[in-house]
């Protein structure tokens, strides 16, 4: 029931929006739909008692032995919660955007949500792959028709990049399906795969490439800053908050179980690349003049850390990475929302055109500051919990890598505080009247900040969710 509802609520709403085109009510309808999905996910969370919950398990393509299996475990549930939790805010952020054809926009967003739910519910690699690629489609159209400058070129580049990665993944999955009887594509049967280590070493990259691009990690990131900067606000939110988490999830659900030896072999390489990206993005972010592009590079930096933490492959690293994935989703929505709110007021997201806004918009400045505290991972915010666990995890791998990872806390402080200063502080230079935070601004930012702080003080509920699955995952592979 839960699975069906999660797929059907956004899907049917999206279809309705697409065909009925209720322009006036489109945003309200979409908002209600996402809130309903959130309700379903929260119900699933409250009913969850551990293990893998399978809702559907039936023949799919009997001639190939493929089965249609859907359900979730703790990690999947975390991703579902994350997706369900940020979407109402993404829809709400649309109330400030003056996009053409709001019904279509919201329909595309809800299609995306459907497929994202599908990705996190799929318990079969091929099914995962299909949803994974499907989720790209509505985003593709959204960017192509509603994007900013150079949208065609940038969207096509983004599409080709992710598609290439996807094809590589598909090839890898098909290769694995061809390996003997035991593996029929289901996650549950991955354990029966027995791929020689020499094969795992190259197969790792075949599978990993898709996720490396999706996250993205250095040096596969070059599609990301332009795309984030060009995409409509809600598009960037979807990409940054949820879609990249598919990469993380895919690594845990597909790459690690299928090619554990390959993972071990490439572990330090990947951590190194990820951390280079984390530092590279963090340094570049400092001198960016466009707030949205700064957020893009800051996201590159955060995601580098996420990936590095994951590849520590110990319980602190993986739990921390998953926890941080959640924190990062909320953070990205908050950051982008603020950039949108500022753009609404001064007409551009260039920080050179801002400055001194605290005088005019003190409430927004205060909200920005609270978001900033989370962005630089001050303790008692959600990000700190994740970062601390990842640092502890990375230390167990290698002290030097841990040092590199920890150094990002300095870079983050440098670019975030400089951004805050350029936007908010300094002398008042505004002659025009400017509205401070509106009801809508509060509706989006206050709950998100409240969740961030609550989970910073009391991370237990989320950590409990991932603790056991992560332990099982690691012990089943006996990596440690």
């Amino acid at each position: 029931m839960i699975v069906a509802l999660l797929l059907l609520i956004p899907f049917i709403t999206a279809l309705a929006l697409m065909f009925l085109r209720p322009t006036q009510q489109a945003k309200n309808v979409a908002l209600i739909s996402t809130l309903a999905s959130l309700g379903v996910v929260l119900f699933a969370w409250s009913a969850y008692t551990g293990g893998t919950v399978i809702h559907y398990n039936m023949d799919w393509v009997p001639s190939w032995g493929l089965r249609f299996v859907m359900g979730y475990d703790g990690v999947g549930l975390l991703m579902l919660i994350l997706t369900a939790m940020v979407f109402p805010f993404i829809i709400a952020a649309g109330y400030g955007e003056k996009l053409q054809h709001p019904s279509l926009v919201n329909a595309l967003l809800l299609f995306t949500q459907t497929f994202l739910f599908g990705v996190f519910l799929a318990q079969n690699t091929l099914l995962f792959y299909i949803f994974y690629e499907l989720s790209l489609i509505p985003v593709f159209f959204f960017l192509l028709y509603w994007g900013g400058e150079h949208r065609r070129a940038i969207t096509v580049k983004f599409f080709i990049y992710t598609l290439l990665g996807g094809l590589s993944l598909l090839f890898g999955i098909i290769y694995c399906l061809g390996q003997g009887e035991g593996f029929n594509g289901d996650f549950a049967t991955i354990g029966s795969l027995n791929i020689p280590t020499s094969v795992q070493i190259w197969l790792f990259w075949v599978l990993f490439l898709a996720f490396a691009i999706k996250l993205p990690i250095f040096p596969f990131h070059s599609w990301q800053p332009d795309t984030y900067a060009m995409a409509p606000l809600q598009g960037t939110m979807v990409l940054g908050a949820v879609m990249l988490k598919m990469g993380l999830y895919g690594i845990i659900k597909i790459v690690l179980p299928i090619v554990p030896q390959g993972v071990v072999h490439w572990q330090e390489t990947v951590i190194l690349l990820a951390l280079i990206g984390a530092i590279y993005g963090g340094i570049i972010a400092f001198r960016q003049s466009d707030l949205k592009r700064l957020i893009a590079f800051s996201s590159l930096s955060h995601v580098g850390l996420l990936c590095a933490g994951l590849f520590a492959w110990n319980s602190y690293g993986v739990s921390g990475s998953l926890y941080q994935a959640f924190a990062h989703a909320l953070l990205v929505v908050c950051m982008l929302y603020i950039s949108g709110a500022m753009k609404e007021r001064v007409g551009s997201s260039e920080m050179g055109a801002m400055g001194g806004l605290k005088v005019r918009t003190p409430r927004l400045a205060a909200l920005f500051l609270l978001v900033l505290a989370n962005a630089v991972a001050l303790p008692l915010t959600q990000s700190f919990v994740g970062e601390w666990l990842m640092f502890a995890g990375l230390w167990q791998v290698n002290g030097g890598l841990a040092l590199a990872a920890v150094s990002t806390i300095v870079l983050g402080a440098i670019y975030m505080l400089f951004a805050y200063q350029r936007v908010m502080l300094g002398p008042d230079k505004w002659a025009l009247e400017m509205t401070d935070a509106t009801t809508r601004d509060h509706f989006v930012l206050v709950p998100l900040i409240a969740i961030t702080l609550f989970l910073g003080v009391y991370p237990g509920p989320i950590l409990e969710l991932v603790d056991v699955p992560v332990q099982q995952l690691l012990s089943s592979l006996s990596l440690n």
């Binding site: 080709i160 990131h221 950590l463």
Partner: protein, 628 residues
């Protein structure tokens, strides 16, 4: 149970104050906000006193568990507070001095339109500082550690319309963060080694091996953290800039409490440092160098707050010297007396600035002793206390460190004595230039209101009698503070000052004679000045170098700040734009060119393919779901 509640209330009261004030900041008047903030921190003080009275030192201490915080895998880090001699000492300083400074701020900030915000941030700071000192494990301390950093950032940049202040605020935060890298690594390392971050457990487990490389690394990392927060070489240049904040902030955060966090941290983990003599030597010499360099800069500063800021850096250096010699209780004693007299001096400076309508340049002061009597007398007391005139609080605490220094090596004693004389000289220079001679400015000095002068008077009394807290045997005392603190940190039990009474009296005599000589010198040069020396350009090289703060700010700008900006800009314009993007585009294009299937996607039929895929998926899904 009742004491547990009381313990939790100590940090929570100011937190509640911060939340209330921040949410009602536009509705409250400055006085109401100030009154509420002061009442809450004063309640914390009362609670701390009650806890102190009811505390039995012989039990060692106890832990109050509030909440499970981070528990995952084998890690179990609770939100818990620890009450023992060390945390109680710090709690009394933080809430006691904090209350006085809150009270003072009511007068100082009453005309500022953002006074409620100011008090909210001051209360938030108190909360964070209390978490720092009360935490039962490193990670709780780190909550406070970062929290005070945030509040320091906010309060330095409180007058946010001035870009230089914002720069100073950012500089403080970033330099602290550099130290925090050390702190985080230390915690990670200690957790890896001990499987816990609880102070009590680590103290039990950490015994044995001398100079274990792991312990050296951990203690060095902790010390790096301490150099950031407590403004030691090479990370001290943020503190003088931090004077951009309102003066009560300088008194509370940048003199009495936050900057002593590094010392507190090292005393807290003294067991670890005892097993790493190598680290202690480094602390000793960094402390000495900082004490002397900062004191030398203090000689030539003309901003009343900058003189005090360099003085603070220098005094913190003395505390680190004590730590480096393993004289933890001496360091804590100096933390305490320094909190009294440096808070007093800063608040006095604030009162002077207030009296002169915002003037901070001592070249435009002079002759104020008649017009602002209370400020003058209390400032005078602060000056003689910090200079270590006999029987003042600073006399006992600094003398103890210098005696340990003599025991360590006479050379060290010589350096510390030299630093002490520099201190005396620049402090009396300041006193004479501000209060003696003739007035060189144009304002109409007026004495500050009672809310400001009462804290001055209380602190002046404390600065005089503070030495009683740890009165040495030589003066018929029993070092009560040392004996109290040793119940919290075993290392203090083994501190031993083995000098004979004659030696101690001799050292004290030499110091005192030289201090008085220095005062006489300063009097001769500055007490009757009508004008001050000319521009820096006319000074001889060394003097100019010192007056320009050893050009450290310029050095850091040239070595780190500007290159970092350059790298940031060029990494984007050159590497990202001209290497990463074209190369990866090339790879993508090549891959596409090779794939016949994919090529079709480029011909414009993309949407058709995708829609076909979508429709197939939809139909399939619906069938599957319905058939269930």
């Amino acid at each position: 149970m009742r004491t547990d509640l009381l313990t939790i209330l100590v940090p929570v009261l100011p937190l509640v104050g911060a939340i209330i004030l921040a949410s009602l900041r536009r509705k409250l008047s400055a006085n109401v906000a100030g009154g509420l903030a002061t009442a809450l921190i004063a309640s914390s003080f009362v609670a701390s006193v009650v806890l102190f009275m009811g505390f039995e030192a012989s039990t060692g201490g106890r832990t109050v568990h509030m909440l499970d915080w981070i528990s995952v895998g084998g890690m179990d880090i609770p939100l818990a507070l620890r009450i023992d001699a060390l945390s109680l000492t710090m709690m009394l300083i933080v809430t006691g001095i904090g209350s006085l400074i809150h009270l003072y701020s009511i007068g100082y900030m009453h005309e500022d339109e953002r006074a409620p915000t100011f008090f909210a941030q001051l209360n938030l700071f108190s909360f964070a500082m209390l978490m720092l000192v009360m935490g039962s494990n490193f990670l709780i301390t780190f909550i406070g550690w970062e929290g005070v950093g945030l509040c320091s950032y906010l309060l330095i940049g409180f007058w946010y319309k001035t870009p230089e202040y914002n720069y100073a605020a950012r500089k403080a935060f970033v330099m602290n963060r550099i130290g925090d890298v050390g702190m985080v690594l230390a915690m990670v390392l200690l957790f890896e080694r001990f499987g816990t971050l609880e102070y009590a457990s680590i103290m039990d487990m950490a015994t044995g091996g001398m100079n274990d490389p792991l312990m050296i690394a951990a203690t060095l990392f902790l010390f790096i953290g301490a150099t950031g927060k407590s403004a030691q070489l090479p990370l001290f240049t943020w503190l003088p800039d931090a004077m951009a904040g309102p003066t009560p902030v300088s008194a509370l955060i940048h003199a009495a409490t936050m900057v002593t966090a590094g010392i507190f941290l090292i005393v807290r983990s003294s067991v670890l440092f005892e097993s790493a003599p190598f680290t202690k030597d480094i602390i000793l010499w960094i402390g000495t160098a900082t004490a002397l360099i900062a004191a030398s800069i203090g000689l030539f500063q003309n901003d009343i707050k900058k003189v005090l800021a360099y003085s603070t850096v220098s005094q913190l250096g003395y505390m680190f010297v004590a730590l480096g010699m393993g004289a933890y209780s001496a360091a804590m004693f100096h933390v305490t007396t320094h909190a009294f007299f440096k808070a007093l001096l800063f608040l006095g400076a604030g009162s002077v600035i207030h009296a002169l309508g915002g003037e901070q340049d001592i070249r435009r002061m002079g002759g104020l002793k008649g017009s602002i009597k209370i400020t003058f007398i209390t400032f005078f007391v602060g000056t003689i206390a910090i200079s270590g005139l006999p029987l003042m609080s600073g006399f006992f605490s600094k003398d103890l460190i210098m005696a340990y220094g003599f025991q360590h090596s006479p050379v060290l004693f010589g350096l510390l004595l030299f630093g002490a004389l520099l201190t005396t000289f620049y402090m009396f220079r300041l006193l004479f230039l501000v209060f003696y001679g003739t007035y060189r400015g144009k304002a109409h000095p007026h004495e500050s209101p009672l809310t400001m002068t009462i804290p001055l008077m209380v602190l002046a009394v404390l600065s005089v009698i503070g030495g009683l807290l740890n009165l040495p045997h030589l003066f018929g005392g029993h070092e009560p503070m040392k004996h109290f603190l040793e119940t919290a940190a075993d290392a203090i039990r083994y501190e031993h000052l083995g000098l004979s009474a004659t030696t101690e009296w001799t050292l004290m005599g030499i110091t005192t004679v030289l201090v008085f000589t220095t005062i006489a010198m300063a009097y001769g040069r500055f007490a009757k000045r009508a004008t001050l020396e000319g521009a820096e350009a006319d000074m001889p090289f060394l003097k100019r170098l010192i007056a320009q703060r050893w050009r450290l700010d310029e050095l850091y700008a040239a070595l780190f700040e500007r290159p970092y900006g350059w790298i940031s800009a060029h990494l984007f314009t050159t590497v990202e734009r001209h290497v990463m993007v074209p190369v990866m585009n090339g790879v993508g294009a090549a891959a596409l060119a090779m794939g016949g299937v994919v090529r079709k996607l480029q011909t414009g039929n993309t949407s058709f393919h995708l829609l076909a895929m979508l429709c197939g998926m939809i139909v399939f899904l619906l069938i599957t779901l319905m058939s269930n």
